[in-house]
């Protein structure tokens, strides 16, 4: 059974009072342990698809499943806690890097859970090649690329089973984008999956890619070509053992969680 699946999803938006179809009977399945790319021409509806997957967009039809459980049996905020969308625009709240990384634990949806300790947060920053950023630094003093990575780590730290990344590496230089790719891959374990919109050349981490065109989705396994897949070279998950610190942040498995 796929960890996350979408069936018969249709989305339309209204323009001048008329409904314009954007996604038409789209389906996809994401297996645990894999990273997938979502590609397609600009305006095809890639961001809309991710929004719909995170229940942040009205659907005309279709159902979403997490581990076989339909989204309708979750409270929307509980669903989003597990199917976490990271938007393209990094928006940090005013305060320090620490305030931002701990932000998810100030929300009701994580009530009763303890935020990760400073050491775990610092190790995570180091893995994202932000070792020179102190937890106490005010976010107004971060560069655009640094802010993007902090926003990404904020979502990663809660260990959602499904990560939906909307071109989070758009503002980054090649080396930082590779670092994000490696970190993403390291976070995707046997209980996690990830779908990411990318406009860069394949980095070798994705096991398949979905192409969205004219409202339809087509899937292709990743070519085993080594061209430009340099980010994956020398990648060793063992380097990311520090992420085990965050294992306890996982939301309760489907079925154990709070249900309405």
């Amino acid at each position: 059974m796929p960890l996350f699946s979408v069936e018969h999803l249709s989305v339309s938006y209204s323009r001048d009072g008329q409904a314009v179809p954007l996604l038409n009977d789209v389906g996809l399945e994401l297996e645990a342990g894999s990273v997938y790319d979502l590609v397609g021409p600009s305006g095809a509806g890639k961001s809309t698809l991710l929004r719909a997957c995170a229940l942040m967009m009205e659907r005309s039809s279709g159902e979403l499943y997490l581990d076989g459980v339909p989204s309708s049996s979750f409270k929307p905020s509980e669903w989003r806690r597990r199917v976490c969308l990271v938007p393209q625009q990094a928006s940090l709240v005013a305060g320090t890097v620490r305030d931002n990384l701990r932000l998810p634990w100030t929300l009701k949806v994580n009530a009763g859970e303890r935020p990760p300790a400073d050491e775990a947060l610092a190790r995570m920053l180091a893995l994202a090649e932000l070792a020179d950023v102190e937890l106490g630094r005010d976010v107004s003093q971060l560069s655009g690329g640094q802010a993007a990575r902090v926003a990404l780590l904020r979502a990663f730290a809660t260990r959602p089973p499904v990560m939906l990344l909307d071109e989070v590496d758009a503002a980054l230089d090649d080396e930082s984008a590779c670092a994000i790719g490696r970190l993403t891959k390291a976070l995707v374990d046997e209980r996690t999956t990830c779908l990411r919109i990318r406009h860069r050349a394949a980095d070798g981490f994705a096991s398949g890619s979905f192409e969205l065109r004219d409202g339809r989705l087509a899937y292709a396994d990743a070519a085993i070509a080594a061209d430009g897949a340099s980010c994956a070279e020398g990648f060793d998950p063992a380097d990311y053992a520090a992420l085990q610190d965050l294992a306890s942040e996982r939301p309760a498995a489907v079925g154990e969680g709070e249900r309405p």
Binding site: Y13, S14, R15, G17, A54, L55, M56, M57, E58, P76, S77, E78, R80, R81, C84, L85, V86, P87, Q89, A90, S91, L92, V93, L103, P104, L107, K108, V109, N110, A151, R154, A155, T158
Partner: protein, 264 residues
């Protein structure tokens, strides 16, 4: 109390309107484009206040509780209309929310003051109820308009931030909290500033009125203190109610923010 009031004759009243002519002439000569507005506002002020004077004369003479209630209802409707017309953002369902906020805040605090502090006799005495509730509502009306405008422009400015928060599992209330705080703060600023300036920079309208009517300055001051405290209390109630009743209208039933692209 009325014994001390200097009654202005109608000749003097019309003579005073010559002052308005100065403003009108300046605007006309300098082509400021305000001549029409000056004329309309002057006439409105003239007609509305005189009409209110006659109406209150009648009301004081023949007052019953339901007549007073009717006048108060008319005041809330007018205040709602004025407050909502000042809000630049288009918000569905704004009118009922503002109406309820103004009604509850003004009548609740107004009656507490009229019955508990002034001890009106009879309890619905229009001579106390109408001006007190009117004062509260006039203040609350402006503050609500400021607060609502600020709330919705602040949420639009924070649309990206709220998107991220909701994506992390935040409820609409959690995502909107900083905007609610800012809006309520903005709405309370004028009345709090007035309280700080009272007696040093300004003599508030009501105290001025009582002094002109020949009242004892200390008695007038005590009255004014009560009025300012009640204004700030009613203001707070009105702003908080209006903000909390309306912010959710910019979120979908599923709890995500309806940014400009999604409002259709």
């Amino acid at each position: 109390m009325s014994g001390g009031v200097v009654d202005i004759g109608y000749v003097e009243l019309f003579a005073a309107s010559a002052l308005m002519l100065v403003a009108g002439l300046v605007s006309w000569k300098l082509e400021l484009g305000q001549t029409r507005r000056i004329a309309v506002s002057s006439v409105r002020c003239f007609v509305q206040l005189l009409a209110a004077g006659f109406l209150l004369t009648y009301l004081f003479e023949f007052q019953t509780w339901w007549l007073v209630g009717l006048v108060l209802a008319g005041m809330v409707i007018a205040a709602t209309q004025i407050a909502t017309s000042r809000v630049k953002n288009r918000i569905p369902g704004l009118v009922p929310s503002v109406f309820v906020s103004l009604l509850v805040s003004s009548t609740a605090i107004g009656f507490i003051v009229v019955e508990g502090v002034i001890h009106a006799d009879p309890w619905f005495n229009a001579r106390q109820v109408v001006p007190i509730v009117g004062m509260i509502m006039g203040n609350a009306m402006s503050s609500v308009a400021v607060a609502i405008d600020r709330l919705f422009s602040d949420m639009d400015a924070r649309a990206n931030e709220m998107f991220s928060l909701v994506a992390l599992g935040a409820s609409p209330g959690e995502a909107a909290a900083p905007s609610l705080k800012a809006a309520i703060g903005a709405g309370m600023t004028p009345v709090l500033a007035n309280m700080s300036a009272a007696g040093i920079v300004t003599f508030p309208g009501m105290m001025t009125g009582q002094l002109l009517a020949g009242a004892d300055p200390v008695a007038a001051a005590k009255y004014q203190i009560v009025v300012m405290l009640m204004l700030s209390a009613a203001n707070t109630v009105a702003i908080v109610m209006a903000s909390y009743l309306t912010y959710r209208k910019r979120f979908s039933p599923d709890g995500y923010y309806l940014d400009k692209g999604l409002r259709g």
